[in-house]
Amino acid sequence: MPDIDDLRRAMRSETTGLVMGVSIDRITRRARGLRARRTGVMTAAVAVGVVTLAVPGYALLDRTQPRFGDPPMSSPSSCGPRPSASQRMPQTIGPLVETGTSIEAADRRRFDVLLGLIGQPDRPMFSIVFRDQRTGQLDPWDMSQVVRGPDGDFAGHGPAWHFYSSQMPLDAGRVLDAGIYSRAAQRIVVASADGGADARLARNAETGWTFFWVEREARPLPADANTGPEEYTGPERLTITAYDAGGRRQHTVTGGFNVGGRTQNPRDNGPDPLPTQTPGLPCA
């Protein structure tokens, strides 16, 4: 290669005609994961057909008794048909919790919605699990790794934090908010500009954390509320507050990237489908 101009030409020639396969969706999804890692939460998207993990029915033994002030559970305690024993079982940290909510997918299959912690005790993943009512198959669609700090709260860069939640639209104007609180609570209220409601609670004895979930009449957060570069501040933004037995407020959070993210589920097949190659971004 005799001179620098040849080098320049060779490099330009070598990089001509490349196909750009990075879509905006892929970028924003990656950004969301990056932000979650930075705040100590790693969201793992699990898509239908990619990972199907089955939890035997005996893992669904019980849920913590409703606490004082909790609305009664509306869901059946039945766990449905048990999957085959040969199916692989993810390690759960304590039992899964029935929310009593179910959704219907496009193929008319109905799925019950359950909450649980999956993984290792030192690296638990808060998971929203969907159970096919027909087969009993359990699919942990939505999993978020929550780092447990030395004091039991959620750890990450910056101060410890206390709430992680996601939201799934149900019917028009109705949503399911489900999440986990890093301590014990007597009462947790989930609210937005459309109003608040008491969540149902279930304590996870292994971690000392508290699951909470509530169906309420409210406009859902925009699907991309937690994926934008800035925090969403619209009226659908959530405020979650935990109270102790004396009615004293323990912790509260309003908005932020850790609450209200859209629940990935088999009905919507998302909101983040797996990365797809989308060539065609214009070349500069």
């Binding site: 490099m11 196909v19 750009m20 892929r26 934008g228």
Partner: protein, 176 residues
């Protein structure tokens, strides 16, 4: 125009250029280059509100180069194992242009990651030595010495950089 739209415009305008840089930095590994670009743009996206008024492409390029450096450190062993051997292209089965381009990539793979970054920024992005130093976060002297070493490895004499008479090519270069 909202932030998402403006970011999409930025991606549309700049992602291909970033891919070119990534491709050269990785020695022609287009998959890794694409991954680098995706990670880079994700970081740009998070920083977008405070970056729109500045040199977004410069920020993105710097991020990409730094990411490549980080990845190279982590994946050094694997990179060594998968790099193509630096034998010379004989061009017996391809056209001369193809052989030359292939040779360029093999030559780039022989460079250290910093040497490669300097060459790409200096001669592909046409940055000055000072700009290259700022982009890489190293001193001007480091850029000069690194550049000299890289050119020596590539058997390119900087003294031979001169305006060339325009040559009309008789055929379209073959893409590989």
């Amino acid at each position: 125009m909202d932030e998402r739209e403006s970011f999409e415009d930025f991606v549309n305008a700049c992602s291909y250029r970033l891919l070119q840089v990534g491709c050269l930095l990785t020695g022609g590994d287009t998959h890794r280059a694409e991954d680098l670009v995706a990670e880079t743009l994700a970081r740009v996206y998070l920083a977008w509100p405070r970056m729109r008024s500045g040199n977004a492409f410069g920020y993105a390029r710097r991020t990409l180069v730094n990411l490549h450096t980080d990845w190279w450190r982590r994946l050094r062993q694997r990179e060594l194992l998968t790099s193509r051997p630096p034998e010379r292209a004989d061009g017996s089965n391809h056209g001369a242009d193809v052989a030359r381009r292939d040779s360029v990539m093999r030559s780039l793979l022989r460079l250290t990651h910093r040497e490669r970054a300097v060459v790409v920024l200096r001669y592909f992005q046409d940055l000055t030595e000072k700009e290259t130093a700022a982009e890489l976060g190293v001193s001007l002297g480091t850029v000069k010495s690194t550049n000299a070493r890289a050119l020596a490895k590539l058997q390119v004499s900087p003294d031979l950089a001169r305006p060339k008479p325009q040559v009309v090519q008789s055929h379209t270069p073959q893409e590989i």
